[in-house]
């Protein structure tokens, strides 16, 4: 089975090790992983800011890059939501294209959803020891129903104790360009998230979206908290967290 990996622009630019953690998880599950070299960004920054001029081109580019794959895996609920929910919507003016996109979007999975429900991973290579708290990223949670999946995967890891924070499903304030345009409101939202996470006393905050993680980590560090670790769930599951 060929699995296409859509790395996402943030992972590509900011944290390549998350991409390698995903690779490791997919390869250790026995899949042949392909990483189309021409992949870039799903186009969400422009799309969510009202500039839809490039979205059709980017959706069709994605189709071309991944149409030969049995599955496509995305280590981000936000980008997976863009591909699964919004790409077909953006192409609906052309029924043939929309149908083709729909077929591809149905084979596209957010990482934890894929690992739990398709790959049905029983054993995970990671060996993190300690307490963690999980932040539910908005698009993954509300557009794709990703909530149980990461928790069930973490539960398979014997040395991890998950401590739920208050309001784990409330937005951290990232929202793509929102956090730049309305930095002050976004900072307050990130503050609330940091406070709730810190109240759990967990060693690490984990989430499935790098955007949220950069936002939360950025606020934690500015608040002077240099000890709480911040990880993408792929890093924890694959054991890439020590790098």
């Amino acid at each position: 089975m060929r699995v296409g990996l859509f790395v996402t622009c943030l992972v590509d630019l900011m944290r390549p090790r998350i991409g390698f953690a995903v690779l490791q998880l997919l390869e250790s599950s026995g899949y042949e992983v392909v990483v189309p070299e021409s992949q870039t960004c799903c186009g969400q920054p422009g799309y969510n800011s009202g500039d839809t001029s490039a979205i059709k081109t980017l959706a069709m580019k994605f189709m071309r890059e991944f149409e030969g794959c049995d599955y496509i895996v995305v280590p981000s609920g936000s980008c997976a939501g863009m591909i699964k929910v919004h790409y077909p919507e953006c192409l609906k003016a052309d029924p043939q294209l929309a149908e083709k996109m729909q077929a591809i979007s149905e084979r596209t999975f957010e990482l934890t959803d894929f690992l739990l429900n398709v790959a049905k991973l029983k054993v995970l290579p990671g060996d993190f020891k300690g307490t963690i708290t999980y932040h539910d990223s908005c698009s993954g949670l509300r557009e794709l129903g990703v909530q149980r999946q990461p928790r069930e995967l973490l539960a398979k890891m014997p040395d991890i104790q998950l401590i739920e924070m208050q309001e784990s499903t409330t937005c951290c304030g990232f929202g793509g360009t929102f956090s730049v345009k309305y930095g002050e409101i976004s900072t307050r939202m990130a503050d609330n998230k940091c406070r709730h996470a810190e109240e759990t006393g967990a060693d690490a905050i984990v989430a499935g979206d790098l955007g949220c993680l950069l936002n939360i980590e950025g606020r934690l560090r500015r608040r002077g908290n240099l000890h709480t670790k911040v990880f993408h769930i792929a890093e924890i599951l694959a054991g890439e967290d020590k790098k």
């Binding site: 992949q39 870039t40 409330t170 002050e184 560090r221 500015r222």
Partner: protein
């Protein structure tokens, strides 16, 4: 238009400790209460589906249902007025008041009258207005607009209200909620008895019986609509519902979504003026139906917004609203629903921030009892802003440049390779950026952890070779 001051007001509100402490109660009072209340319903999702269908059925043939409503209301003795604009509403209500020699008006809460600035218009015409909903009464004393459509005074603490009452009522300062309510009741009672005219909103209009329906918790609505000799109900044209049975479905959702109650203390169905056999009720019953931009949404991609039953769940669950409160939105309707209605009613160019002031986290859409796709509608308004070239040029240029690069992988790979190296270098030994050109809004409150130095694509290529 106050919506243009969104950023400044939001900033002020973030620093207002009293407001922040008042907003903390939203979670407990409304969010948690709603979560508990929807479990009472056998099938909440099926009820939402049914409610959506009822609202869509009306909106797909709104003129037909309105004419049906008008016919039935008239046949039961009501007078129906059509108002295209807010000014029309004010003129119509003042005319009715003059026609009946009205000097004093008692009002029950009506967001449409807020939308029209009716109180000021009535006062300007020499007619005294008394708000009788406790929250609206407090705001009238404080000369402030509501900050929430269901709990208009949610932004005020009990202590502020104690101070306000002591000052305005010239009575010893009371601190208990029951004592404060009693004092308000004592002040309001003569107002009910002296009013020549009562003004209410209408949560729904029932087409089959020509009735206006209001839900209230304080009983003031019943006094306003039955005690004075003239009753005027003002509402938007979209509030019509075919049958009483349809309303019963919507009523199962409205209070649960709004305040977490299974039903409100009072549900009043007001049908025509007092009959010859009736002991209570107004002698004259007028219904004013306002358009004010609503019909422009019909048949458009924004039509679903007209399903709104004004429960306020979207704002209660919106993390932006939860942190900045309703006044920052600058007009009558705050939160996600307001960020759609305000630009619709006052013009997109007068409310530039509102459609953008959301992270599109989706919480509003999930809780909306009539399934309005609020995040999608906010995004559509952003598209309209771009189409109409209302967004700042720099922002558009940056987004276009990124999208263009995303469509050109060679340039993209080159630019991201440079950016990854540059930012990594800028982070120095600390590995964090305290300032990032072009993203100052972000780095004002956060330290950016720098990229690892090489892009994934470069590292992957190296690994393969």
């Amino acid at each position: 238009m106050a919506s243009i001051h969104f950023k400044r007001k939001a900033s002020e509100n973030l620093g207002n400790e009293k407001l922040q402490s008042a907003l903390m109660r939203l979670q407990e009072r409304f969010v948690d209460a709603r979560t508990a209340a929807i479990t009472d319903l056998d099938d909440f999702e099926a009820t939402r589906d049914a409610a959506q269908k009822i609202r869509d059925r009306v909106l797909n043939n709104l003129d037909g249902w309105l004419l049906y409503f008008e016919r039935e209301a008239i046949s039961r003795g009501a007078v129906v007025h059509w108002a295209e604009t807010a000014e029309d509403v004010n003129r119509i209500v003042i005319d009715i008041a003059r026609q009946h020699g009205v000097k004093k008006v008692a009002k029950s809460k009506s967001m449409v009258s807020e939308e029209c600035g009716l109180n000021d218009a009535l006062e300007g015409a020499g007619i005294q207005v008394l708000e009788t909903d406790l929250g609206e009464y407090i705001l009238q004393l404080a000369h402030e607009p509501p900050s929430h459509i269901v709990a208009p005074v949610v932004h005020k603490t009990k202590e502020e209200i104690s101070d306000l009452f002591a000052e305005k009522h010239q009575k010893p300062r009371k601190t208990g909620i029951a004592e404060l309510c009693l004092e308000a009741r004592e002040e309001l009672r003569p107002g009910f008895l002296a009013a020549d005219m009562g003004i209410s909103g209408a949560n729904f209009l029932i087409a089959e019986s020509g009735s206006a329906l209001i839900v209230t918790n304080e009983g003031n609505g019943r006094l306003v609509t039955t005690l004075p000799r003239v009753h005027v109900a003002i509402t938007g044209i979209e509030k019509v519902v075919p049958t009483l049975e349809d309303v019963s479905t919507l009523i199962r959702l409205l209070p649960r979504s709004a305040t977490g109650q299974s039903i409100t203390n009072y549900v009043s169905v007001l049908t025509g003026p007092k009959g010859t056999e009736d002991q209570d009720g107004p002698e004259h019953f007028h219904i004013v139906l306002l358009d004010n931009g609503r019909s422009s949404l019909l048949g458009s991609e924004m039509q679903s917004m007209l399903r709104c039953i004004r429960c306020g769940a979207c704002m209660n669950h919106c993390p932006v609203y939860q942190n900045i409160g309703g006044h920052a939105y600058g007009w009558v309707y705050p939160g996600p629903m307001g960020s759609i209605l305000t630009p619709t009613f006052v013009g997109l160019e007068n409310a530039m921030d509102l459609p953008n002031a959301s992270t599109l986290c989706g919480a509003c859409g999930v809780v909306c009892p009539v399934k309005i796709p609020l995040p999608d509608l906010l995004r559509k308004l952003r598209e309209k802003q771009v189409e109409q070239k209302l967004r700042p040029k720099r922002e558009m240029l940056a987004l276009r440049a990124w999208s263009w690069m995303a469509g050109h992988p060679v340039f993209y790979a080159f630019a991201t390779r440079i950016a990854a190296r540059l930012m990594h270098w800028m982070g120095g030994r600390e590995g964090r950026l305290h300032y990032l050109p072009g993203a100052a809004g972000w780095t004002d409150g956060r330290d950016m952890s720098v990229p690892e130095g090489s892009t994934f694509r470069d590292l992957y290529r190296r690994r393969k070779s």
